[in-house]
């Protein structure tokens, strides 16, 4: 059995209003950052899958992301394996 580490990045779909992102964007100028726009808030989920085959590990994570980690009505997701993920 091998441990496969993944990161799942969940983001609100483009076009959907992101009030949290807007609130952050509205606060940044107070620190002098007046050149920032398009702030979006998402989720970052890390997990380890114990299975021999790396391909099947990723396939499992995709099913988790579709079935629970994200809501396809409002969110997109991206899966990074530890090998690809920045340290």
């Amino acid at each position: 059995m091998t441990a496969h580490r993944f990161e799942v990045l969940v983001s609100l779909k483009p076009g959907l209003l992101d009030p949290q992102g807007n609130a952050i964007e509205g606060s940044l100028p107070a620190l002098g950052w007046i050149n920032v726009r398009d702030v979006r808030v998402g989720k970052h989920i890390e997990l380890t899958v114990d299975v021999d085959d790396a391909g099947s590990a990723r396939e499992q994570v995709e099913r988790m992301a579709e079935g629970l980690l994200s809501n396809p009505v409002i969110e997109n997701f991206r899966i990074l394996s530890a090998d690809e993920a920045p340290a």
């Binding site: 009030p19 989720k43 980690l69 809501n71 009505v73 409002i74």
Partner: protein, 236 residues
């Protein structure tokens, strides 16, 4: 008037808050309230089910996302698919959406802030277990209290909601007019509640269970509970 009282179950999840008021509202409106637990393997033979408001499982991940996996939800799904009346209020609405029993999703309010106040909603269709006996255009005053009540759906679902008359309520002015300033959370189409195609599964963000007693506030919830109880009674 039949002597028989419909039995209405109210499911308590970890983090439910409004189960007590929902049970009281059922009794006050003439039904028999039945407490159900999220881990229950069956629905105790009730004639209707209410998923109450609150913050089930702490709203972890997304509102309603974890509650949909509760043991009792398998039975709720079977009951709904068999035509049984199922009402989701606030967090219960969010759970029904996450479970795929109702279309759409609820995200953070447009204004970011939690809103807690009475609002007016306009009845859009009477073809549901919640709106029998009302007329389209009727205005009901019912409180809302939520941080994540902005209804959104895919373009296709929004079109289907309109085309098939699946919108139950819209936030409106006291006279029933639609204007964005009455849209308390920025919902698409000012949608406050929806139904499924069969009209037996319904969900709304406002809290009718807080609006049945004239001593403590508006009474816009009375006709909704009356409708739910009569739908439930039809199954007795």
């Amino acid at each position: 008037m039949s002597a028989e009282r419909p039995r209405v179950g109210v499911v308590t999840f970890p983090g439910s808050l409004d189960d007590g008021d929902a049970l009281r509202a059922v009794e006050r409106m003439g039904g028999e309230a039945v407490q159900l637990w999220h881990g229950d393997p069956d629905l105790c033979g009730v004639d209707a089910v209410i998923l109450p408001g609150g913050f089930s499982y702490g709203d972890y991940l997304r509102t309603g996302a974890i509650a949909r996996f509760a043991a009792v939800m398998d039975e709720v799904r079977r009951f709904a698919e068999a035509g049984g009346p199922v009402l989701g209020i606030c967090n219960g609405f969010q759970i029904l959406c996450e479970a795929g029993l109702l279309p759409g999703a609820l995200i953070r309010n447009r204004g970011v802030r939690f809103v807690c106040k009475p609002v007016d909603v306009r009845v859009e269709t009477t073809a549901s277990v919640l709106t029998e006996g009302l007329a389209p255009g009727d205005v009901l005053r019912i409180p809302v209290k939520h941080g994540e009540g902005q209804f959104v759906a895919t373009k296709d679902d929004l079109r289907r909601l309109d085309d098939d008359g699946l919108v139950l309520f819209r936030y409106c002015a006291p006279d029933g007019g639609l204007d964005d300033r009455w849209n308390v959370n920025g919902s698409a189409g000012a949608i406050a509640g929806v139904r499924n195609a069969g009209g037996n599964v319904v969900g709304l963000m406002p809290h009718p269970e807080h609006a049945v007693d004239p001593d403590v506030g508006p009474t816009g919830g009375q006709p909704l509970f009356a409708s739910l109880l009569s739908s439930a009674l039809a199954r007795v």
